[in-house]
Amino acid sequence: MNSKAIIGIATVLACAAIASASLFGSTLKSVAFADVQRKSERVDIYGVLDKPSIKAIRGATMVQFDLIEEKTNQRLTVVYDNPNSALPPNFPGASHARAAGVWDPSRGALVSNFVTTKCPSKYEEKNMDATTRKLVDQWKESTGQSGS
């Protein structure tokens, strides 16, 4: 085997070893809401942000909110607690959120210090039905049938 192959393979193996080693402590298991309470390690959940449930406990650095799992419609409370970093101000406008944390049975919530929100670049489509309904309402108003 020539030196090129040896050096090349050694470099590739070194990179692979570094990548593998880097996985320790950096992987998060995405779990279903129903499984969160059974896990003792740090897990990752993702769901629809229930906006009315958002409660600021300590400004934006401790915020409680509920996520709703889309498949099952199950609800889970998350307490974001990170004194060093507030949630982004656009958090309340997010459609979905992903929270990484550990289940705290005493609080009945997933305590998380890392929350990412779905970039609002493409919000879920607002239902076109709403526009049609609004139009009909406007017609009813214009014809005095709004109370009917």
């Binding site: 030196s3 090129k4 050096i7 090349g8 470099t11 590739v12 990179c15 570094i18 990548a19 080693a21 880097s22 402590g25 950096s26 992987t27 998060l28 995405s30 779990v31 990752d44 906006k51 009315p52 409660k55 600021a56 300590r58 400004g59 934006a60 650095t61 004194p83 060093n84 970093s85 507030a86 982004p88 101000p89 656009n90 309340p92 406008g93 979905h96 992903r98 990484a100 990412t116 929100t117 779905k118 970039c119 609002p120 670049s121 493409k122 919000y123 879920e124 489509e125 607002k126 076109m128 039905d129 526009t131 049609t132 309904r133 139009l135 009909v136 309402d137 017609w139 109370g147 009917s148």
Partner: protein
């Protein structure tokens, strides 16, 4: 009635034109690819192919097989031109619908509205997936036209692959038609439910012909007066130019990839290097610029003080850039020495795969729930199309490369380890390894699902941990390779003093980094990383010194010779800024400050100064914050804090000031979090017998105190009396049965009341919460409890609110300090300038090299001797890259 309906010839023309453009565009793209593939497969390969075109030019008779190939090639070209024309037509139709505000069209409704600035309205074209497909198609049209003009000899080898992209784009457009109008059956269902008038229902189609008229824009529709509009965060100058730049980068990256595949098919493994190098440099520069613009937008808009979060969407653009960088260096080496042919052809084919992989990851919905960017999951056919083109390109690139592998004769990669080609060799591996690590991280959820080990993701720490050592080696190579001679055998001189010093310092940095990496490992890569950062910083300083020296040396050869060194220098400066900003950025949350109340942060005083309403339709409401500097000068900051028109939710955009803080140059980054006007605290949806806690702090000098409430039930006796009309009280009330505990004190039973007052309109009553004074709190203002309920006997819930007697509005904001961030942007500017200068140089060199090659071929093919022609050929032009 007519004001609620709309029928427009413009709508009909644009929708019909758009639909025709999509379907005919798809047909012509398919035909173009078929004809190009026939031309390619029937063409001679190997040396015959390399000299074929020139021979034809000089020969008086043409090989019938070649004639046939040219016929198919011309057909392919003609249909490619049609495809481009249909893409332009479709795009114009969509733009016309956007500018004429035809909200009947779902795409226009979703991405545009009447209050949009014309510039943003133009940009709303690429506000969603379909528009970006059109945009990509437009770029393909322009790039294809330039390619056909400049690289005629390679047409039949490159276009069969490049044309495949057009097929997939039009297939996707036909599946996700941007000219779609609401499904009439769904509209009918809503109208029926709403008891809408018959005249509304009558406009909906009932037979095939009416349906055709409806979907092609010629029917009468319910008039939608406005659209939902482009998301406010996208209404930003950088976001307007970021997507088109990025897509130009993607589209142009596929050309060098197609060149590599064409070279493999042609069995000509050398010529493509000269032709592909300028395309690759252009694509590399544009994609790099696009990535930078996205990072800058995130920093300026998103309010978390960062610019990169290792999100799949970001990674999807970074992977092709890294592979393109590796390929670029490989092509440079091959142009100079003829080595790395197998590696370059592999990377070339794979480059296209990485672009398509990125598209698949962010558009198919496969990472929905993983990425913070949102692309709503499309239908399965779209998923299949994206996956199909990815698999096809991957199979072609790997398959043809494997098929030709033994046929590729490459020069030896390097003679000794102390020459630049060895540095290039390692650079190729390290860059490819970086791309592989990121690809592994971003696709991990897919592997997890495929191998049934559960969906796993990696957080940002994986990329930081894995790439810090790899990038360290990359910087080492950027510092050491310029010191190496091009070929040891030619330049066997001793080391200069500068090189000796640099090597010694690099040795120290390497040893230091190795020890520091072990130390960082012991700290879990989070607590004790500073020594590793310091070693990394030392290596960056050495590398930037070497590259600046090379830059000075190269400047003697003119601006065009400076490109690579500028790009290297800029890249190293950026890396330095990344380390500094990641390590030293700090966040100071400022919560609940009264108006004018100062908070001291980093030698400055910040105070909330109120709010300001939007000054015009393009402005937004703002939060006013005074910043008093160390010199006593007060600057008023006015970051935007407003209610989104689309989501009715609060949005805050940061305001950024460049300042010297404690001797370091950085950004003071102020993000508004919100304004609390009544300084109250509350809990909602409190179920019976479930304790709920509220925290109060009236002012900064007051203690934070807890009030726990438990809701037991309701006393509705007075309401019952009122309903029965017997012994009706003057002011009937509902009472809550509530236990309360202040700061953990013994529980007291209280009965907060809700007044039942006469209602208005359809509502006979209204419920007005009454204030119940709370004792035991040590706040500077007395507090009272307001109680309300949902009055649902089946699922009774209480709502509690603690309100101060003397409400004081409070402001919430954050102050971040991001040191050295300007070096990030300056480094990026320098790198981008360097990349575009490199492109210019590659372009000129390639043109000259091709002119020389063509002249040599013409001379060789000329039957009337070649002496005179040889004398006329360009002299003194280097053919190496």
């Amino acid at each position: 009635m007519q004001e609620f309906l709309v029928k427009s010839t413009g709508l009909g023309l644009a929708v019909t034109g758009g639909n025709i453009a999509i379907w005919l565009g798809l047909a012509s793209a398919v035909l173009s690819v078929i004809f190009y593939w026939i031309a390619m497969l029937r063409s001679p390969k190997g040396e015959a192919a390399a000299s074929g075109t020139a021979s034809i030019k000089g020969a008086t008779t043409v090989d019938p097989r070649e004639l046939s190939c040219r016929k198919f090639q011309n057909l392919g070209k003609r249909f490619f031109t049609f495809t481009c024309g249909f893409c332009v037509l479709g795009s114009l139709c969509l733009w016309s619908l956007i500018f004429s505000q035809q909200y009947t069209i779902h795409y226009v409704f979703k991405n545009s509205n009447s209050s949009l600035h014309p510039g943003f309205r133009f940009a709303s074209f690429w506000g969603d997936q379909q528009g970006t497909f059109f945009l990509w198609g437009l770029y393909n049209a322009v790039l294809g036209a330039v390619f056909l003009r400049k690289c005629r000899e390679s047409e039949r080898w490159v276009m069969p692959f490049f044309g495949l992209i057009n097929v997939s784009l039009f297939l996707l457009l036909s599946l996700m038609n941007p000219f779609w109008i609401d499904n009439p059956n769904e509209v009918r269902a809503v109208l029926t439910e709403m008891k809408a008038p018959e005249s509304f229902l009558a406009i909906l189609p009932t037979n095939t012909m009416e349906h055709l008229k409806y979907y092609f824009g010629w029917a009468t529709y319910l008039k939608k007066t406005d659209g939902r509009g482009l998301n406010e965060q996208l209404q930003n100058f950088w976001m307007v130019i970021h997507p088109p730049t990025l897509f130009l980068g993607y589209a142009s990256m596929l050309i060098p990839s197609a060149f590599a595949l064409g070279a493999l098919m042609k069995r000509d493994y050398n010529t493509w290097v000269k032709e592909a190098a300028p395309w690759l440099t252009f694509a590399w520069a544009v994609l790099g610029t696009g990535i930078f613009l996205g990072a800058y937008w995130a920093y300026e808009t998103l309010g978390w003080g960062g610019y990169w979060s290792w999100d799949p969407v970001e990674n999807s653009s970074f992977i092709p850039w890294l592979v393109g960088t590796a390929l670029l260096h490989g092509l440079l080496a091959q142009g100079a020495r003829g080595n790395f042919k197998q590696a370059n052809l592999f990377l070339g084919g794979f480059l296209g795969t990485t672009v398509l992989l990125g598209s698949f990851l962010v558009r198919s919905g496969v990472l929905d729930g993983i990425s913070v960017h949102s692309f709503a999951s499309p239908q399965e056919s779209v998923y299949a199309t994206l996956l199909g083109i990815l698999i096809l390109w991957f199979t072609l690139s790997i398959g043809i490369w494997t098929w030709r592998f033994r046929d590729i004769q490459s020069e030896i990669a390097y003679d000794t380890v102390w020459e630049r080609h060895f540095g290039f060799f390692l650079g190729l591996i390290v860059l490819s390894a970086s791309a592989a690590v990121i690809t592994f991280g971003v696709t991990m959820p897919i592997w997890g699902a495929w191998f049934r080990v559960g969906q796993k993701t990696v957080d940002y720490s994986f990329y930081n941990k894995a790439l810090l050592p790899v990038t360290f080696v990359m910087v080492l190579l950027m510092g050491i390779t310029p010191l190496m001679p091009w070929r040891k055998v030619r330049e066997d001189r001793g080391l200069a003093m500068f090189a000796k010093v640099v090597l010694a310092l690099m040795g120290v940095a390497c040893l230091w980094f190795s020890g520091a990496a072990v130390y960082a490992w012991q700290g879990g890569f989070s607590r004790q990383n500073d020594p590793a950062f310091a070693a990394f910083g030392m290596m960056l300083l050495i590398a930037v010194t070497v590259n600046l020296r090379q830059l000075v040396k190269a400047s003697g050869g003119g601006l065009l010779a400076c490109g690579p060194w500028l790009a290297h220098t800029g890249f190293i400066i950026m890396l330095g800024a990344i380390v500094v900003t990641s390590r030293f950025n700090v966040t100071f949350p400022v919560e609940g400050v009264a108006q004018g109340e100062p908070v001291k942060i980093m030698g400055r005083e910040f105070s909330w100064a109120g709010q300001r309403t939007a000054e015009n339709s393009h402005d937004r409401d703002r939060m006013l914050i005074d910043m008093k500097g160390p010199d006593g000068k007060v600057t008023q900051l006015a970051p935007k804090l407003f209610i989104s028109k689309q989501t009715d939710e609060a949005m805050g955009w940061p305001e950024i000031r460049h300042e010297w803080v404690n001797g370091a140059w950085g950004d003071i980054y102020v993000v508004p979090s919100g304004v609390d006007l009544d300084n109250s605290a509350g809990v909602e949806d409190v179920a019976k017998e479930e304790p709920a806690t509220m925290s109060v702090q009236h002012s900064k000098t007051d203690p934070k105190e807890q009030v726990q409430v438990t809701f037991h039930g309701l006393d509705t006796s007075e309401l019952q009396k009122m309903m029965n009309g017997k012994n009706m009280p003057a002011e009937p009330k509902i009472y809550g049965d509530v236990s309360i505990s202040v700061n953990g004190a013994p529980v007291q039973k209280i009965r907060p009341a809700i007044l039942v007052a006469p209602g208005e309109g359809e509502r006979p009553f209204k419920f007005v919460p009454q204030k119940y004074p709370i004792t035991g709190l040590n706040q500077s203002s007395p507090y009272a409890l307001e109680f309300s309920t949902n009055m649902n006997p089946g699922d009774l819930k209480g709502v509690f609110k603690l309100v101060p007697e003397n409400p004081v509005p409070r402001g919430h904001f954050q102050v971040l300090y991001v040191p050295g961030i300007q070096f990030m942007w300056w480094g990026a500017y320098v790198m981008i300038v360097g990349m575009f200068i490199s492109y210019r140089r590659r372009s000129l060199l390639s043109r000259k090299a091709l002119q020389v090659a063509a002249a040599a071929e013409a001379v060789r093919a000329s039957p009337a001797g070649s002496k005179s022609s040889r004398r006329q050929s360009p002299v003194g032009v280097t053919t190496t890259l």
